[in-house]
Amino acid sequence: MLRGEMGEAKQFALEIVSKVGDAVGADALVPIKSAHVLAHYSSLHDAGVDVLERFSDSGGKFAVPTSVDPASIDLQNWRSFGIPEEYARQQFRLCDAYARMGGMRCWTCVQYQVCNFPKQGETVAWAESSAVVFANSVLGCRSNKITAGMDVACAVLGMTPRFGMLLDENRRATVAFRLGFKELSDLDYRSVGFFIGRNSGARVPALLGLPASVTSDQIKHLGAAAAAAGPVMMIHFPGITPGSDALSEATNGGVEEIEITRADLEDVESDLNQTSEKPDLVAFGVPHLSINELGELARMLEGRTLEKGVKMYAYTSSQAYDMAGRAGISAAIERAGAKISHSTDAEISPLKRLGFNTVMTNSAKLAEIVSSEGEIKMRYAPQKKIIEEVTG
């Protein structure tokens, strides 16, 4: 394509995607069927606003269906969460740029449960590490973990460099984890994922011994924890992952097998528990809760009231938020003194700025990310135990 014919935004996108392709030794740029881009000001900063506006001001439009990750604030009710005005203003500049480029304003990290539905075998360019694991492991799509800035470039160009998880030879399982027990709590799924992330290194893991009752929500949290703890982009779940019906197919031969024991999960729990102090915030929904999970939370909160001095936020997509409102789920959660927050997420909110010091969660991903900053102390426990501790 000649420079002039392409338009400035596409030319800029091509420049970025080509340079990255060269850096990783990609043999070609290949078309994508969908994209997912990052939108939270807390991590994109003012530099991210400059990048986005460079694309949108030069006429950039997304070439493929492109869903947008959560913002750093609840885009509807941000004032009620105590967000400073100037912080909100910068976040809305990011949002406006995405709107101008034609992004799906879903503001969620679980786009695969909400609005972005590629089919098996398709190549996509998704940012958001937990969604990348879900795409490769459950949907049977091919995606690398696309980095901020590159995500927008791929979406504008409609292409991505062919390397990494787009290539057959890099998708085979090269280490197998086996569960040494049958019963798993909500926390166990996250701890298992975290253990896999910590112990896979650069290898592609398979997980054997999951109960047949496992839900897509549980896999979502397992994959998110794995991706937060290590460079994992795909987990083979035999019987679930397309093309991975048996371990032999996933591996093409023998691989190291690692048993996951109860003691391993206890180690993860003690690692992610930095204090026994009472929390000032309880956060559920990293990644975003589905409508089913919101319903389950409402049932667990029935007849209970949140204690003074502690806030409880459940994070979800705008779509599930609307549905929860219509189904009476929001009212049930609010009766207990908790709040549903949509279009944002705890790990990308300015928690310290909002005055929180100790946060309790059942999300290994949240516990890992927040604790690495060292400003806020984390506690990690099953949802039921958390609710029993902070409600009367």
Binding site: F12, E15, I16, K19, V20, D22, A23, V24, L38, H40, S43, L44, H45, D46, A47, G48, D50, V51, R54, A127, E128, S129, K145, I146, T147, A148, G149, M150, D151, A228, P231, I369, S371, S372, E373, G374
Partner: protein
């Protein structure tokens, strides 16, 4: 003393001189560097408390959030960025952040990869380092 040379592959062209800041651990700018100061804040980093501004930054691999490129770019916007980055594996965040640094702010941050971490200890934090990414060379005295 005769200068010593390490060879890698230049991913982003250009040259830079500065003091070495060396890590043996996987590193990320995301939640790991305060862009307003350049201080390393990641409690798991062996560079915690040190400052990346103007340094030749050595680390074996990237890790963590895909937003790292934007955290890196914010250090560029605020003038607290490293002079060059040297890694063992390709860190996509360093590559993209550096491409954007040039495109958006007109700043050069050369990136060289393929330099094994086993060599970092002999360079050592504080050494005077020259990076020539066009030739893929890292030289120190």
């Amino acid at each position: 003393m005769k200068p010593k040379v390490l060879r890698g592959r230049g991913l982003i062209r250009g040259s830079a001189r500065g003091e070495a800041l060396v890590s043996q651990k996987a590193f990320t700018f995301a939640h790991g560097v305060d862009p307003s100061t350049g201080d390393v804040t990641d409690v798991r980093s062996d560079m915690k408390g040190m400052n990346v501004r103007g340094k030749i930054l050595f680390y074996p691999f990237g890790k963590g959030s895909t937003t790292a490129s934007s955290w890196f770019l914010e250090t560029v916007r605020l003038g607290n960025y490293p002079a060059a980055i040297v890694t063992e594996g390709v860190d996509l965040s360093a590559v993209i952040g550096s491409v954007m640094a040039k495109e958006i702010y007109g700043k050069d941050v050369p990136v060289v990869s393929g330099v094994p971490r086993t060599a970092y200890a002999s360079v050592g934090t504080g050494a005077a380092v020259t990076v020539d990414a066009d030739r893929g060379e890292v030289t120190w005295a």
